[in-house]
């Protein structure tokens, strides 16, 4: 492979690379072996610790996986609600920011900058504190109060991000699109709604899917605040009972990684599809910016 850093390797470089690969491979394997030996020495491979997670014949197995399934459902519900609300609120915010005048949009800009700058975990906890201390009754909403603290907190943060993605999406359209809309006599609002937004949503699709990864990861913040029993908190409770945090966290981490990996592949796939059909998509890789 040739890239900006080095040229197509010749015979000598290929030999050197091969030797280097073998040496590095052996060293890495040795490192893995060292870690595994340490784990084995501490008895971390005992069936007593793993059994409830991988051996269907144990009594705990169905119970543990039932709980994990509950936790996963809770995570997916929170993430799903958060993405839907974020999309709605984010579209509204983005349109307000784009369509209001230079001065009248100041409050919207302040709102966006405020929630973009706040750590999500602070936002979630602040929502909780605010609702509790103002004695606002959110009992009419379906589900636990905890779910809604998380969903509202995540929505406040992610709607702002989506508003900014939307703005970038509209900005990436050729100027002629809006001009054509205006030229045939549509109002600026009609142009936005019927010409620019539909196209912007298409270019945004990969970035939106990536944002879903961010939201999924952020639901686990509830585990730290102990507000809502999603997947990670459920796992934590299980490991307190079974006294096997490494094993349970391994499984929980694996579930997150698999789901998020598939989602990011989906984002890349839609990005490729879109660019093949002639739309210039926004990069899927907003995940270059770490979420929690």
């Amino acid at each position: 492979m040739s890239n900006v850093l080095y040229d197509q390797p010749g015979p000598r470089a290929r030999r050197r690379n091969l030797i280097g690969a073998v040496v590095a491979g052996v060293l890495l394997l040795a490192l893995v072996a060292l870690v595994l030996r340490k784990l084995a020495a501490e008895g971390q491979f005992d069936m007593e610790l793993w059994g409830p997670l991988i051996d269907p014949s144990t009594d705990e197995f169905p119970l543990v996986w039932g709980l994990i399934r509950q936790g996963l459902t809770a995570t997916l519900v929170a993430a799903g609600l958060a993405i839907v609300f974020s999309l709605l609120l984010g579209t509204g915010l983005g349109m307000l920011r784009m369509m209001l005048g230079k001065y009248s949009r100041t409050p919207v800009v302040v709102w966006i900058e405020l929630f973009r700058g706040l750590p999500v975990i602070v936002t979630i906890f602040y929502v909780y504190t605010f609702i509790r201390s103002q004695r606002i009754d959110i009992g009419f909403l379906p589900g636990d109060d905890g779910l809604w603290f998380v969903v509202i907190g995540l929505t406040l943060y992610n709607s702002v991000i989506i508003a900014e993605i939307l703005r970038a999406g509209v900005a990436s359209l050729p100027r002629g699109q809006a001009e054509a809309g205006l030229a045939i006599g549509m109002t600026p609002r009609q142009t936005m709604l019927t010409v620019q937004l539909p196209q912007a949503f298409r270019t945004m699709l990969p970035a939106l899917i990536s944002q879903l990864v961010v939201i999924l990861k952020d639901t686990s913040l509830a585990a730290i605040l102990a507000l809502y029993t999603e997947l990670l908190r459920r796992g934590n409770l299980i490991s307190l009972n079974l006294d096997n945090p490494i094993q349970v966290l391994f499984v929980i981490g694996l579930i997150f990684i698999v789901i998020n990996y598939l989602l990011s592949k989906l984002a890349e796939f839609t990005e490729r599809r879109l660019s093949r059909s002639g739309v210039k998509p926004l990069a899927a890789d907003t995940s270059a910016v770490p979420a929690t």
């Binding site: 706040l118 913040l221 585990a223 998020n260």
Partner: protein
Amino acid sequence: MDAVFDNLDLYWSGFLRSLGICLWAMVGSLLLGTVIAVCRVSPNPALRAFGAAWVTVVRNCPLTVVLFFFAFGLPTIGINYSYYVFGVSALVVYTSAFVCEALRSGINAVSAGQAEAARAIGLTFTQTLSSVILPQAFRSSIPPVGSVLIAMFKNSAVVGAFGVGRDLWSVGKRLSSAQGYDALPVFTGVAVGYLVITLTASALLALAERKVAIVR
């Protein structure tokens, strides 16, 4: 707002402690991220596979899971440190994957023609890297690395909320529960503390971006 103004000194010391977490994690994640990035772009397939695996695993795993793994997992195999050390380590491990990707995008932003030109005029491999490619790559990775670091500053609140003691978050907890102040103003103070960190960092980044921006 008396709760905040009566305890400004407490807030200040908590702010400094939180800032300390950010700075340690920044140094650590830049170092580790660079190492991983070097692995990912090296001609050595074993190192490349390691770098790719690291990025895939760490980037798709929530910071909270990494943090719990450090704080609850490691003590069970006899590795015991304070939550401060575990918290900063988790932040470093988590952020390193994103730093790696940001650096890589900086390298990829340098067009291949630059390297070809450098080789064509007879520069050696080391000269090509040190005087043509890396200076450009460094400049074009400042914006992405900057936004990764800002996101990391925000994530440091997760470590704070987990409980490292004496930081902004603990100050908030202490004032609202132990000293019985009203929680809302207390946590408004905490939020402002974090905003000061992230907004200052954003402003500094914007400044740096203008300074090093390359018009391609």
